[in-house]
Structures are given as C-alpha cells and as structure tokens.
Amino acid sequence: MDSIYVHIILLSLIILFAIFAVSYARVIRGAILLGVVSMLVSISLFLLSSPLAGIFELSVCSGLITVIFVSVISLTIPPDDKQRKMNAISMVKKMTLLFLLVLVCGFSLYVLDSKNITFIPLMQNVQESIDTRDNIWNLRHVDLIGQALILLTGIFAVVVLFKKDTNKDKK
C-alpha cells in the first residue's frame, strides 16, 4: 500500500473533490463534499504513518465539522429560485477561472523547476519517533495555551454572533 501511485491517486482525488466542493451554488453539497475531502486526507495521513493525526482528522474534521456545518446550514433559509438565478455564476465562468488557476500553478511550477532546486538531506533525529503525547504536553505546551484561547474565542463568537439582542439588557 505504500507505492507512489496510491498517493498520486489520493492526491488527485482530493483536488478533484475540492474543486467540486467549491463549484456548487448549494452550500450543503459543498459541506458534504468537504467532509469527503477530509476523509481522503485522513486516509492519506494513515498511509504516511501518522495514525494519530489521521484519527484526529477523521473524527474532528470529517465528522464533527461536517455535522456542525450541516446543522447550521439547515437552520438557514435557502434563497428562492429567483434569487438563486440572480446570484448564479455560470459554469463556464467557473471553469475558465479554474483553467486560469491551473495555468498559474503550472507556470509557477515551471518557474520553480527552472531554478535548480537541490534537495537538502533530512535531519536524522526526526527519524526517531517521539511519542505524540510527550510532544504535545511537554514540548508544545505553549500551543496548548493557544488552543485554549481559540476555544474561548469560539465560544464568544457563537455567543456574540448567534445570540439575539434582547431588550432587557440595560444600556
């Protein structure tokens, strides 16, 4: 399972589904396709021998996030047909933009390739596996503080953005 073709197929599928995810006007399709992309990414992580990251990706991004997206989207009122027709961007335009993006990426790759990239040997001490738990709790406790801050921000975001202003708040 470790051959390069699997990786190439996985990567191309990821890109394909990502393009699909942004090309539909109906957001709920995009959310579900995003979940599919996350699932593919987690498979790829498994194949790159980092199972913990794969598990996190699967459960959090592919599962929890998609559920949150779908639940929030289903709480909104979808635009009716007339509005949808007004806001629609034609498929042709989307495909042209995609094509342009491909051109830009190709051009940048070409430019990069024309400059000689000499590869740098990997550091040896990365090869020894450091336990993830040790890594997170001992080496990276600063990032944990950051994560706590972001969590609190998320709570406040929900409170601020989704709570209705009631009149009984004193000024």
């Binding site: 830009v104 051009f107 940048s108 430019v111 990069l112």
Partner: protein, 600 residues
Amino acid sequence: MNILLNIFIIIPVLLGILLYFLPTKYNITKIVLFLITVSLNCFFSIYFYGKEILFNTHVLFRLDLYFRYYDLSSFMILVLAIIAFLTAIYSVAFMKKDKNTYTFYAFMLLALSFTNGILLTDNFIVLLIFWEALMIPMFAMIAVGKNQAFLTAIKTLIISSVADLCLMFGVMLICVVGGSFVISQVNIDISQPGALFAFIMIFLGATAKAGAMPFHSWIPDASVKAPIPFMVFIVTAVEKILSIYLLIRIVKDFFVIDIGSDISIYAMSFGVVTLLVANMLAIYQKDFKKMLSYASIGQAGYMIVAISSITVFGMFAALFHMIAHIVYKSCLFFVAGNIEQAEGSTEISSIKNNLRQTMPYTFISFILAGSAFAGVPFFFAFFSKEMIYESAISVSWIFYICLAVGSLLSAVAIMNWAVKLFFSKPKDKIIQEKEVSTFMFIPTIITALACLMFGIFHKVPYNLITGIIGQETGEHSSIVAVILIVVSVLVLVLALVNNLYTCKKSQSGLGFVLVALNYFKVDKLNENKSFDPYEIFIKLIRKFSNIMFVIDKAVNYFYDVIVPVSVNFVSASVKKAHNGNLSIYLLWVVLGIIFIFIIF
C-alpha cells in the same frame, strides 16, 4: 591716549543717535549739542595736530584693531573739522524751517564720525566697514531734502554701492597680495601678479567717491534735491577728502609705481576725460547748483590727474588743490544757499531781483570765490593750479593742453553765471537791502576771505603740506613756470573777452565756446543723459524683469495646474480600483505572488 578715539569717532556717533531719538521739545538742546560737538571736534583736531599717536583696541574689544593718527590723517581731520564747523553754523540758519532738520544734524554727526574713523584706522577691514557705513548718513541726508529726493537718494545708494564693490574687491586683493590687514604694513610692487588688478579696482573705488565718471551722475541730481549743507559737507568736503586721502595712500604707500609708466598714463587720461566732460556739461546747466556740482566733478578730475602723475610734486599739488577747492567751492555753495533762501530757487529764470543790490555781501563773496574758481592770480587756487599744470607737463604736454582747455571752460562758465546772477537786472532804486541772517552770512564771508587770504599768504598751507609730504623735489625750470603763468593769464583774458563780447550781442555770455561745443554735439549729450550709466542700467533692468515675469508664470503654471491634475488622476484611478469585490482582491494576491516569482 584712548581719548583720541572717543573724541573723533565715538562721541559724534553717540550724540548723533541721541539727537535722532530725542523728542521735539528738546529742539533747542539739540541745536546746542550739535554745535558743541562740532566745535569740540574742531578744537581737538587743532589740539592734537602734528602728534603721532598709535592706538590699539585690543584691551577694549579683544580684537587687534589698530588706529593711527599721523601727519596725513591729522591734516585731513583738521580740514574736515573746520568745514564741519562752518557748515554747522550755516545749517542752523538754513534749515530752521525744515521739519527734518534734526534728522539732518544727527546724520551729519554720524557722517563726521565715520569719516574720522576712515581717516584714523589702520586696518583694511575697519576702513571698508566705515566706508560702507558712510552710505547711511548720505542716504538719509539726501532723503530729507525736497520732494522726490527719495529717488535721488536711492540712485546715490546704488551708484555708491557699485563703486564700493570695486573698492572692496580691490582692498581684498591688496590684503591677499600684500599679506596683511594692517594698512601701514602693505607695500606692493605693481608688477606682482594680481597687483595691477587690485590697483585698478581700488583706484576706481577711490575716484568714484570724488565723483569721477562713470560714477558721477548722482551728484547733479543731489545738488538740486538735497539741502545745501549736504552739498557743502558731503560732496565738497567729505568725498574729496576721503578720495584724495585714499588716492595718496595708494600711490605713496600701497603700491610702488614708476613715474611715466603705462598705468600712470591711463590713470591720468581717466582724470582728463572726467575733467573735460564735466566742464563741458557745466556750461549747459540752467541751475546754479547743478553747474557747481559739475564743476566739482571737473575739479576732481584735476586732482586725479595730479596724483596719477605719481610725482611727489603731483601729490603736493593735489593736496593743495583739495584745500583750495574745498574753500572756494563751499563759499560758492554758501552763496547759492543764500540766493535760494532769498529768491526761492537758483534757476536762472526764477531770479527776480537785482542781487547786487539786495545782497551786496553775498555779491562780494561770490566775486572772491569766483575768482578763485577761475584761477585768477593771487587767489587761492591759482597757485595749486599752476602746480598741477607743472606735474602734468612733466609727464606729457598733451595733458597740459587738455587741462588748459578745461580751465578755459570753467572760467567761461563762472563768468557767465556772474553775469546772469548779478549783472543782468537793472538797478531799482526802491528795493531795500535784504541780506541773509547772520548765521548764514558768517561762513560765507569767512570762506570768501580765506580764498583771498590764503592766496596772498600761500606759504602757510604750503608749509603745512610740506610737513606731510616732504619737500617737493624735482626740477622746476623757471622758464616752464613762466610759460605756464602766461598761458593761464591768457586763458582768463580770453574768457573775459568772450564774455563781454557776447554780452553785448545777446544775453548769453557764453559766446564762441557754446558754438564750439555745439559743434561737438555736447548739447545732445546733456539732453539725452546718455553719459549716465545709471539710466542705461535701469533700462536693462526693466527688460530683465519682463523676462523673469514670463518665467515665473510658467513655473506657476506647472505647480498650480499640472501637478494637482496628475495627482488627482492617479488617486482617482486607485480609488476606482478598490471596489470592494473580494475576488478582485484575491486576484491581486495571486498577481503579487506571480510577480514575486518572476523577479526572484
């Protein structure tokens, strides 16, 4: 001996400033202070005469400024002091009704002190400072004159500034070549590099002060507009004293020039040109004061010729002639002032009364001074003129011919005016004698008598000057002296004959001289003022300012129109480009990344 400096320089300055700022209720005090200062100046110049005093301001100001009071400066200071005294007495009466009198007094004291400073200093820089500073009193004294005097004052300022620029340049070159700022230490051979140019510059500066062409054109204008005491004090006394002082020092101390060298001949020709043109122009004048001023310029030419002959005899002659000129010219100006006080103006057409009757003592003074002017024997200027002729002849006889012609012209002019003023109106039995006030009368008579006295007793000034210059050496062949005297007398007789003859014919009094001059188109010269470089300069300035105006408009157009329009255009396009569309912004990001990859 610090007291020397104080008396001559500082006290007049301080009193002048005091006079300027005192309020009007102290008018009598002002006049008294003025007279006291001038008298003190006179007294001390007599008291200290002949001593040699050196003085250094090192203790006072921590600067090494040397002042030197020696024979030449003491003589000059004495002459200046006496004239200042006489002018002061005259001006008390002359300017009594003028509202600007006290300004005049204040600035006259300032001018006195600055001149004393120039005569006393031994440092080139201080000389320049005082020389420049002298322009301030000159300007102020002209500007308090009649209407339109302000423009004349500005003209004076500009012409003097240009002349002073030459002087400054010359002085600086002398300091560089001579190597020192101390006047008494400088002695340069004319053949050194740069020395010739320095000589020319400083010569121009010094002669310009006396009124040589082309720096002369302010003097006639000032003579009409400015008050008479100004003309006497500044134009006759101060200017001539300063220029002769500087010229003598140039020729005697600063430079070593050979007699009869090229530079000497050029300088003498310069003096001759001044002399001839000025005397020619003097004939045409219709105003007595203007004629006197042109005559002044002419006499300056005489002195320049004398000094430029480089001989000791020439310097002697110049000094002598300077004193003589001061005495008789101031007398003539005082006469003019008396006439102006009595008649209102000195123009020919406005003299109504028979002045011989109404102002007899003025008439007598005029006769005395006029004779001295013409060069009648036994009057003051006769002796000096003979000496000038002799020094000119010692270089070349051409100069002598020109000088003789010049004196013919001046004799004709003064006789013409004599007729016009005093002999033209018929006697009228009714009119009373209306002489001027005592204050004005006394200086007139004193100077007139001095013309006669010093003419008879000419050994007195002769010995004075010998004490300064030294014994005049050089051959005087008596034959030459006799020829000179004969020629001068002939000139006078010719002028007299001419006058009487034409007086019989017409009222003109100028006779064949006028005809001759008209033949040379000198009258056109007088009308067009084409000899006046100041007017030419003004015309050029007008053209230049028109060009500058056009350039300025173009620059304004650039700043007022082009720059704001282009800035607005760029800013409006940038503002339009920010339309809030997120995809556009993201596109910019992509473009930016591509740009980076291209350039890197």
